[in-house]
């Protein structure tokens, strides 16, 4: 039965104002049931206030074999990091 159900990726917002973060995945026949399964699987210990589910097959992902050209060119461009500035103390979460 489970093998016939598509896979859904589950995202949880831990509390108001925060991002939805990827938590895992569930099998379910449709979105409504995927939400229930996500609720029962991933929010049993008060982990969240909001849930998203997305069909795994709808996610377009980068090719791991192309990681070299995708990501390595950024390696030697440290000037893209904002570490050369002095941040005022009032600025948090940077």
């Amino acid at each position: 039965m489970s093998k016939d159900w598509p896979l859904w990726e589950v995202f949880i917002r831990a509390k108001g104002g925060l991002d939805h973060k990827h938590a895992g995945s569930v099998h379910a026949p449709d979105g409504e049931m995927a939400l229930r399964h996500a609720r029962d699987t991933y929010t049993r210990r008060m982990e969240g206030v909001s849930l998203w589910v997305v069909k795994s097959s709808d996610i377009v992902s980068s090719d791991p074999d192309a990681a070299g050209q995708m990501f390595e060119p950024a390696k030697d461009k440290i000037y893209r990091h904002p570490t050369f500035y002095d941040l005022p103390d009032e600025v948090k979460h940077m």
Partner: protein, 251 residues
């Protein structure tokens, strides 16, 4: 047995929740998928939580030093006051879901009304439990629709499940002296008055599930007096075996 009707009242609420919670626990490791396994266990744990509360209240009212565990594990079948519906065997998935849906639909209405109880020991937990139970009712109604309006096989199994469980529905709404006394005291719920709302909710789901509406036939009752079906004894034997064999065992 004390004659304070509120003891009996709390005991009934506790026994209903305990027995249904134990039944759902039987699915653990056996459900069709891991997600459904967790989902059934969650429902069961909500119910065990309700049982702990109400049996604890019953023990306090009785005042003989019996706590929730003592009441759960050291009473015999004849002293259990749960309704017959909750002790029915799990059967197939359709039978489990139908039992859940009928009981949760009733329980949601009951707890909504119990919130107005003049006794805080009942009103407060009703407030918390009504949220849990509303979810149980929605989840199980969703399954009833999916199975009823699913394949010929699942539809057939739903017909069987309805046929099995419907005879235990009238007992849910039956009023006896304990209920009357609790209603008069402003503590309890007029269960008979909940029946029209129950029928409306249940019929809406049956229609959506392409399942026939049910008539009350050959109703069976007696659970509140300890007259149970043969299934309860087996459930209790499993549930009570460890604490009775090792009364002083601690986790």
């Amino acid at each position: 047995m004390t004659h304070d009707p509120s003891f009996e009242y709390a005991l009934r609420l506790g026994d209903d929740a305990l027995v249904l919670g134990q039944r759902l626990g039987e699915w653990c490791g056996h459900a069709p998928t891991i997600e459904v396994d967790l989902s059934l266990a969650n429902l069961g744990l909500d119910l065990i939580g309700q049982a702990m509360h109400f049996l604890g209240v019953a023990g306090d009212i009785e005042g003989k030093g019996r706590d929730a565990d003592k009441l759960a594990f050291f009473r015999d079948e004849l002293d259990f006051t749960n309704c017959l519906l909750v002790e029915q065997p799990n059967g197939d998935f359709a039978q489990t879901m139908t039992r859940q849906w009928l009981y949760s639909t009733y329980q949601a209405l009951f707890f909504d009304a119990l919130k107005a109880s003049s006794d805080a020991r009942f009103a407060e937990v009703a407030d918390k439990a009504s949220k849990e139970v509303r979810y149980h009712a929605e989840l199980s109604a969703d399954w009833v629709v999916r199975l009823g309006d699913g394949t010929p096989e699942s539809h057939q199994r739903m017909l069987g499940a309805l046929d099995w469980h419907w005879r235990f529905v009238p007992e849910l709404f039956a009023m006896d002296a304990v209920d009357e006394a609790m209603v008069s005291a402003g503590v309890g719920v007029d269960k008979a008055a909940l029946r029209p709302a129950f029928d409306a909710r249940v019929n809406a789901v049956l229609d959506k599930a392409t399942l026939p509406r049910q008539d009350d036939q050959r109703p069976l009752r007696g659970g509140r007096k300890g007259h149970h079906s043969e299934h309860l004894g087996h459930l209790l034997a499993t549930m009570q075996h460890i604490p009775r064999s090792h009364p002083d065992a601690r986790w």
